[in-house]
């Protein structure tokens, strides 16, 4: 909208400037024509008055006034010759003298209209007449006070060194009017265009105001008077993610308020909670009613305090807890839970950032409500921020431990599973469960996956061992992650057959066909595809329909109970049997006792992995290949 307004304004200014330019060109042309015409008039007036003066000199010898007064015949004769100079443009041609009182009076008048009589007083108005009289120099008067005249040319008639009279020619406004008339249509067109542009601009301004008002109304939630989701969509498109921190707020046990006190009370609480939150935030902060009793708060970052948002959320929680709402004489107390995303810009999409805040809110609810949570691990771990994790990756404080996978009937290590770890500042090892959820859906997660893949491929190159890495199904659907994985594999395609991709968290997806295509592409490089935690939760056999599976890893919950639960035993047995039929390798995880290992052997399961066999180690030793 703003962009369109800008374009309109630029367009309008360009048109306006062009119009002004055109208008000024017309004005300049008109002025030039008028000037040329005036020059021509002055030139001709000089010649005419010079001829008149010459004519007077021929007849007058001593005193102009006296000689003309005495000789009406001469007056008539000279006036007649003056009349020949009178045209529609040279409107009046006449000769005046100045009497002893300084008044100008007619001597001769060749004018066809408004003819003055000999000795008749004539008000000349302009002081230039006296100037011409005194200086004896021709003078031009620009007639601004006289409507019907444009210019007056004055030539002093000097006889024996004394000014006897002034010969005057008045130039009518006919010619300038004609010029003006000729340019008038152009001027009128321009004026009409100006008016049209003015009207269009007014309409545009009106439209903008109406749009603005409508938009403003449509952006406000009528109950709480805070922004609604409609605004959120608009805001998300234009917001600078690095300028805000995000809080998701949810009124605790709101349903109970509705159930106990009625919906009017619920509305009253919503309205007043929103009002209270608004009173606790700055004008720059943006509060949105996200859903029923959920609010999203975008808090403008405080450059001096990266946890400013946490302070704000805690202030909201504590103030709300201390506030009593009174509805129809009933006191209602409410609390609120808050989930925070500290660094929106680290998330791939804003929806991911909101999702993270929602996850944090979920934790806050789970941990008893009336809490502020900004990270899953925010209470007691050293690595709790995305920035810290990012820094750890950049500083190469990331490494892998490798857990051996044994072939049961030969007791030999056949492959390894790579498990990612981070170092804290004090070199303490941090495990994935402590940081993965923090970086999920962020670009940092992709960087970490890349780092792990590089480490694993380096080990494969050095040791020529089979190693598996863990990926989520969602990673395959993530264009950026999949491309990165594929590029890495492609670059080192000669060793790609040593690599296994273990897929976690399978769930039926609409994009199964895409996943299948991606995985088949990886298999073309010799990469093996394994399904992790197989048999957990649901009997997810349909995975075979969609995924080109090479290996399945049976879920830990089944393996752990295989010795004491006949059901677990039967499920594992059926999985093993199915895999055998489908020619799929089977690995049993979490083998932590000899008893379990023996059971697995009895079921002809090929591979086993677990603490009983080998704990994850930082190094892979070539000779360490039996248990």
């Amino acid at each position: 909208m703003k962009f369109i307004v800008k374009i309109y304004l630029i367009l309008f200014v360009i048109i306006l400037l062009s119009m002004f330019d055109l208008y000024s060109l017309i004005y300049q042309t008109e002025s030039k024509l008028t000037k040329n015409m005036e020059d021509l008039f002055v030139q001709q007036a000089q010649e005419i008055t010079a001829n008149i003066a010459h004519h007077l000199h021929e007849h007058i010898h001593k005193n102009l006034y006296l000689e003309l007064k005495k000789n009406p015949q001469l007056r008539y004769q000279i006036e007649h010759s003056l009349t020949t100079a009178v045209t529609s443009n040279y409107k009046y041609v006449y000769v005046l003298y100045r009497d002893k009182y300084g008044n100008f009076r007619y001597l001769l008048d060749g004018s066809k209209q408004d003819k003055g009589e000999f000795d008749e007083k004539f008000s000349v108005i302009s002081p230039e007449w006296d100037v011409a009289y005194n200086t004896k120099q021709p003078t031009i008067i620009n007639q601004k006070k006289v409507d019907i005249l444009s210019l007056t040319f004055l030539r002093p008639f000097v006889l024996n060194g004394k000014t006897e009279a002034i010969i005057a020619i008045d130039f009518s406004v006919n010619f300038p009017k004609k010029i003006k008339k000729a340019t008038e249509p152009m001027r009128e067109v321009l004026i009409y265009i100006f008016i049209a542009i003015g009207l269009l601009l007014s309409l545009l301004i009106y439209q903008i105001i109406v749009n603005y008002m409508t938009k403003k109304d449509s952006f406000i939630d009528p109950l709480t008077q805070v922004y609604n989701r409609h605004f959120l969509r608009d805001f998300l498109n234009r917001m600078h993610t690095d300028r805000y921190q995000l809080v998701m707020l949810d009124i605790d046990y709101f349903k109970k308020i509705n159930d106990h006190y009625g919906h009017d009370a619920g509305d009253y609480i919503l309205k007043n909670v929103a009002k209270l939150i608004k009173s606790l935030i700055r004008n720059d902060d943006i509060l949105v009613r996200f859903g029923g009793e959920e609010f999203l708060l975008f808090v403008k970052k405080d450059t001096k305090n990266s946890k400013h948002v946490v302070d704000v959320a805690q202030r909201i929680c504590s103030t709300l807890e201390a506030t009593e709402f009174r509805f129809n004489e009933t006191v209602i107390k409410v609390t609120i839970s808050a989930g925070i995303t500290l660094h929106i810009q680290h998330y791939k999409t804003l929806n991911d950032a909101i999702k993270h805040a929602d996850n944090m809110l979920y934790i806050a609810k789970r941990e008893g409500r009336n809490k502020v949570i900004y990270s899953q691990s925010n209470k007691n771990l050293d690595i709790k921020e995305i920035n810290d994790i990012k820094e750890a990756i950049e500083n190469k404080n990331i490494f892998c431990e490798f857990q051996a996978i044994y072939e049961i009937h030969t007791n030999r290590i056949v492959k390894y599973e790579a498990l990612v770890r981070l170092y804290t500042y004090d070199k303490r090892v941090v495990y994935p469960k402590e940081f993965l959820s923090t970086i999920a859906h962020t670009a940092v997660y992709r960087d970490m996956t890349k780092a792990v893949l590089e480490i694993v491929l380096q080990i494969i190159r050095e040791k020529s061992v089979y190693i598996s890495i863990n990926l989520n199904f969602s990673d395959i659907l993530d264009d950026a992650i999949y491309k990165m994985v594929k590029d890495e594999i492609e670059m080192q395609s000669e060793i790609a057959h040593w690599l296994t991709v273990e897929l976690l968290e399978y769930e039926p997806l609409n994009e199964n066909r895409i996943v299948k295509k991606c995985l088949v592409d990886l298999q073309k490089y010799g990469v093996k595809i394994a399904i992790d935690d197989f048999g957990s939760g649901y009997a997810n056999y349909d995975v075979f329909n969609f995924i080109p599976v090479d290996i399945i890893k049976i879920d830990a919950s089944l393996i752990r109970n295989i010795s004491n639960s006949s059901l677990s035993y039967s499920i594992v047995k059926s999985i093993a049997s199915l895999a055998q039929e489908l020619n799929i390798e089977v690995i049993a995880e979490f083998v932590d006792s000899k008893e379990i290992l023996e059971k697995l052997e009895s079921l002809n399961i090929q591979y086993a992995q677990g603490f009983y066999l080998a704990k994850p180690r930082k190094e892979i030793k070539q000779h360490d290949n039996t248990f």
């Binding site: 009046y92 004018s111 408004d114 003055g116 004539f122 008000s123 006289v146 019907i148 005249l149 008045d170």
Partner: protein, 140 residues
Amino acid sequence: MKYILIFTLFLGVSLTASTISAEEKIYTSVLHALFPQKRQVRIWTDDKVKQALLKNIKGSMLVKSKKDADILFLYHTSNIKIDKPKFVGSYALLKHYKKDVIGGFYWQKGRPNLLFLKKNLVKNGLFVHGSLEKYVEDSF
């Protein structure tokens, strides 16, 4: 379009009004200079257009009969015999009534011309006061 027409009319009326206003000012000054003591000057004129103009002059009143008037403003009539101060609107009338006209105001070659005749002013017991004194002529 309607507004443009209204605007044009308004402009036309304004311009005409400005000319009338200038003439009105001159007549106001003339009356004030001739009758400085009179609270209300009674005027008679033979021109209908000028009636409207003279009517607007503060401290003046148009009368229907020449007899009731303090001054006659003449533009057309050349046979007025009544002995009242006459003020004319053309040089021709000024010449015609030169024996008893007190002055005249007329436009010539686009310029306003105002003059008073001292002899006739005295005859009518009138004097020109203030800034218009310079327009008083001794002879005609």
